[in-house]
């Protein structure tokens, strides 16, 4: 009886066994690439909105402060989407007949709200608070990117957990001085002339027996340095307890 398999098949068999490693690895890499792809993360994907609102125009060209519309950002977990009334505050005077703004005017007249499509959507098991991030020196740009360069809103970051945790492990890479929070494209490397948070309140008033040990000695004069040095100084002055930032329960509960 003739051999079913040609001797050359041995090589093929070996190649297949050896190749399996690459095939499996390839699938793993492809999978990892897929979950990080814009298809899944929606990074840089523009979504359709009832009105093609341009942050570039309003922020960079007109110089509106973020908080004019997103008024909850310092007071609430939610930054807030402006009510139609806020849009109409200006647009009852400027561009009041523009075709583009017809849905805004109709909403105001009929009392039916505009329905925007959410761009930055965290999973429901993540409890994110804008107010603490802003209070501790995380500017808008750190998560939302160069909003001032976006004619139409899109996601700048994947919002994946590893992206969040990266910053929670190294807050010094993200924190910025108070006056830069609502600025875009600022790159400071010196502490001099920069207003910062006051140090932690004196413990005597409340007679607490436990003070945060991680607060740096603030009497030492600040010296100019690189961005990371500034970051560390800011982390101390904001009273950020880095160890606590990676407690699961800070975001999940």
């Amino acid at each position: 009886m003739a051999q079913i398999f040609h001797p050359g098949m041995n090589i093929l068999a070996k190649a297949t066994i050896f190749g399996a490693i690459f095939i499996i690895a390839g699938i793993a890499v492809a999978g990892a690439a897929f979950v990080r792809s814009p298809y899944v993360t929606q990074v840089n994907v523009v979504r359709e909105q009832p009105v093609p609102f341009s942050h570039q125009h309003h922020v960079r060209e007109l110089g509106l402060d973020c908080r004019y519309c997103h008024y909850g950002v310092e007071k609430s977990s939610s930054a807030g989407i402006p009510s139609t009334e806020i849009c109409m505050g200006c647009h009852s005077q400027v561009w009041k007949d523009a075709e583009m703004l017809r849905p805004v005017r109709e909403s105001f007249q009929n009392g039916t709200p505009l329905k925007w499509t959410r761009v930055h959507d965290l999973p429901d098991f993540v409890y994110f608070s804008h107010k603490i991030h802003v209070a501790k020196g995380v500017g808008c740009e750190s998560c939302h990117g160069r909003v001032d360069e976006m004619p139409l809103m899109r996601r700048a970051a994947s919002l994946h957990m590893d992206w969040c945790v990266e910053c929670h492990r190294h807050p010094e890479r993200a924190v910025r001085p108070k006056q830069d929070l609502f600025q875009f494209g600022v790159n400071r490397t010196t502490v001099a002339g920069v207003s910062m948070e006051p140090p932690l309140r004196a413990a005597t008033a409340t007679n607490f027996d436990l003070l945060d040990q991680s607060v740096a000695d603030l009497s030492a004069p600040s010296k100019p340095g690189n961005a990371e040095e500034l970051g560390r100084e800011l982390v101390a002055r904001y009273g950020i307890v880095t160890r606590q930032l990676t407690d699961c329960v800070v975001c999940h509960r």
């Binding site: 098991f125 501790k136 509960r253």
Partner: protein, 1023 residues
Amino acid sequence: MSNLDLTSLEQNAIRAVRSRQADGDSMQFWRSLEEAAAAPEFEKYLHREFPSQLAVWEDPVGRRSFLKLMAASLAFAGVTGCTRSPEEKIVPYVRSPEELVPGEPQFYATAMPRAGYGYGVLAESHMGRPTKIEGNPEHPITRGGSDAFMQASILALYDPDRSQTILHRGAIETWDVFVRAMTEEMERLRKNQGHGLRILTGTVTSPTLAAQLTDLLQALPQARWHTFESTVPESVAAGARLAFGRPVDTVLRFDQAKVVVSLDGDFLSGLAGSLKYAREFIAGRRAVSDSSAMNRLYVAECTPTITGAMADHRVAVPPSQIALLAKHILRQITPESSVAVDRELTGQPGPWLTAVIQDLREHRGASIVTTGAGQSAEVHALVHAINQSLGNVGHTVTYIDPVAVSPPQPGSGLHELVTEINVGDVQTLIILGGNPVYNAPGELNFEKLLSKVSLRLHLSDFQDETSFLCDWHIPAQHYLESWSDIRAADGTVSLVQPLIAPLYGGKSPHEILSVLAGQPTRVAHEIVHSYWQKQLSGTDFSRRWRQALHDGVIPQTAAKPVEVPFKLDLSNLVDATKKSLASDQALEIEFRPDPTVWDGEYSNNGWLQELPKPLTKITWDNVAAISPKTAERLHLSSGDLLEVTVAGRSLQTPVWIMPGQADNCVSLTFGYGRTKSGQLGTGRGSNAYSILPAGKHWFSTGTVRKLPGHHVLATTQNHHSMEGRDIVRVTTLTDVQNPPEHPAHATSHTASPQSMYAGFKYEGNAWGMVIDQTACIGCNACVVACQSENNIPVVGPEQVAVGREMHWLRIDRYYHGELDAPEVYFQPMMCVHCEEAPCEVVCPVAATVHDSEGTSNMIYNRCVGTRYCSNNCPYKVRRFNFLQFSDQTTPSLKLLRNPDVTVRSRGVMEKCSYCIQRISHARIDAKIEHLPLVPEGAVVTACQQACPTRAITFGNLANKDSEVRKLKESPLNYGVLEELKTLPRTTYLARVVNPHPNLPVPGAVPPHAPMPARPATGGKAES
């Protein structure tokens, strides 16, 4: 599931307990007859440890189809990871409301009506949807505390079974058609001065509603107004009239009393002022701060209530004996009294009564004698006489003019209405609220009579038994949807303001009366507002109105004490309740409102249905409670079906053997046996109203007959058993004042832990809790508060029966001592947040982890449901979602959820989180304020906030001055199972009792019993 139902063994169990107790081999603390008897079946049940985790294989799916489904599921499980999150819409306001910041809750003061009286609440609102009810700290009755009914009232708002449309003879109709029909009817009535018009309401304390009714009756002099409140029998008012010749309300001041004697009076739960009474009673009982000020409570009652459980000395007496007890007390404290004592007391109350009389004599002016709604008018009059002669009036007992407004003409109860219907005097009947077809005493036969009335109208939340027999049914507004006003038990007026527009177009009684008055366009806001405009006259009405809405109370509206001379000639007092039991089968039958569903008003409320009743721990059902001795005599076991017959009417109900029940008495509760409730309330239990005699008190005599059959009751009393370890500790006031031998200061935290794991260094905030068992009255408010705050699902009776209830916080009820007269101890138990948590180290996916502030957390999105953590938890406080218990589809229930807490899915473990969402909120605020620690009072857990007696203290252990840290240093402080070195962050203060020197000490170890391994007093240092 028959192996989980232990009750069928009870006949043997009772015998076994008796023989064990006779041998001196009694257990220290026990939770059920089976446990006390050490029945082999119970041991088996115990060793199974997690009966809830038995596989319940109900689907007839074969192995093949199971494997096919599993393969398909696995394949799809991989695919689900590849989907991206669905697109969501953001819908901002068109015009943003003033002072609203999206994401931050707002609180509004309003008042919840219950049985006609107001309870001040603060309602939490998230962007226009109310989600949580708290007590209003400004309100004199609630003072920030609440009860289970208040907490559960939020679920009633979103109940999908609420009535949603106006019905005319069963067909959907519009409000306009109703108004037209009613206007025509009223025109006809106006012509004959309202002849034949009757209005039936519950207790009315609303000044606006009373004014509307008065106006209507003036315009129609022939019309009459009747009141009927199903849980307030007429005996209370009749007793006051008997004693003083006029109706008065009694206000008790428990914080001023050193001795309290309750003669069948459940003042800690059943009354309109109970929240205040509970707070003040416990304030007079805290041994921690000032041990000399501790009061002493004596209770004589038939079936154990939470008041009886708090008693230092309790005796079980049949309800008919209460009058006799009262007479004896009166005779002994005022020998010159003319009261005739026609019978001698027999049995148990002897030494109890001697001690009561001695204590009352020694505390004239600083004692309270009280009785309950179910007792006869004569007993109420006797109690008034006792308080008079003790000189308590003006000190601990005051009288005020009745808060409830009575109809102008005398004799306007349900009995009189029934008589008038019978003689054909009633053509039009307007029923504003209530459900008299269900809860009128069966003897009155109200259901049959109603058809004699030609036009019947009913305003109610549900299409209930009464609605089905009425021509018109109008859906009522929930109190969170309506404008009104209401008075509390002390007379204080609260404005009721809406937090949300009526979900289903409901109407308020103000609007119905306005239609009757010919003003159909007036809305409730206008009616209430214009009434108060007249009352609060002055230039700054608008400011005062806003202030009253903000505060939740109108200042200076509490009733002033009145002086009423005692008028009754006691020698003429006839004991109407004196009856002798005719035969062996004849028993005394006692009726009382159900502790969770009340008079049936809450029968469709899943939270209250699933709330274990304080003493029996039964859910979803009512029972006939009998004593162990009676059970032995009649050969009954818990769950046996019983036919109870009173005056020719009978009902069928399962038996429950109740340790501490008076012999030869059957106690029934109202609220079950609903035929037209929602999907949860219909067809559960039996209706005790159907056999209630039409007399003026709530007991009678009747017969019982055992029926074939056995009913499985969903009771939680054996769940999560801790096998008789040293869980509850009791000590006496004397021992607290003069600690024997070693001064007890050490807490569990000073014991050096020996752990396999490296210690965790805690910095910053450190959260901890102390529960004072002396202050816990077992009222269940915390259990429902936790359920409401943390989106805890309801699982239903079948799942409760197999031990799968989801309550994060449970109240364990322990018995101690004799089978027939045990002491009762309550212990709230939830996750104790061990510093060395056994659950955390066994989780293979690190889904339960510690944070740096010492709380043990569940990370739901990581949990894969191995349940190892639950197996390793010594406290049995973890709950697993065996099925999809959370309702994620019913639209109205989505509005109910707390947005700060994850709604859990099937297959996820959960447990008490110390209200981590509240901690998180406070921590963020403190960090923004640049405070090193979260300040005292910034975090209040839901259970702590709800507790009317402040038994739960939560706070920051890192803060030297915090209340919780001070309590941890108390000698009474101990950690449950602290010998396991789990270092629980939640610790307990031992229960302190204050026994009379001449009576046996509750909680004392009987001399013949073996000494426990650890001292019975709490907080002893481990040497």
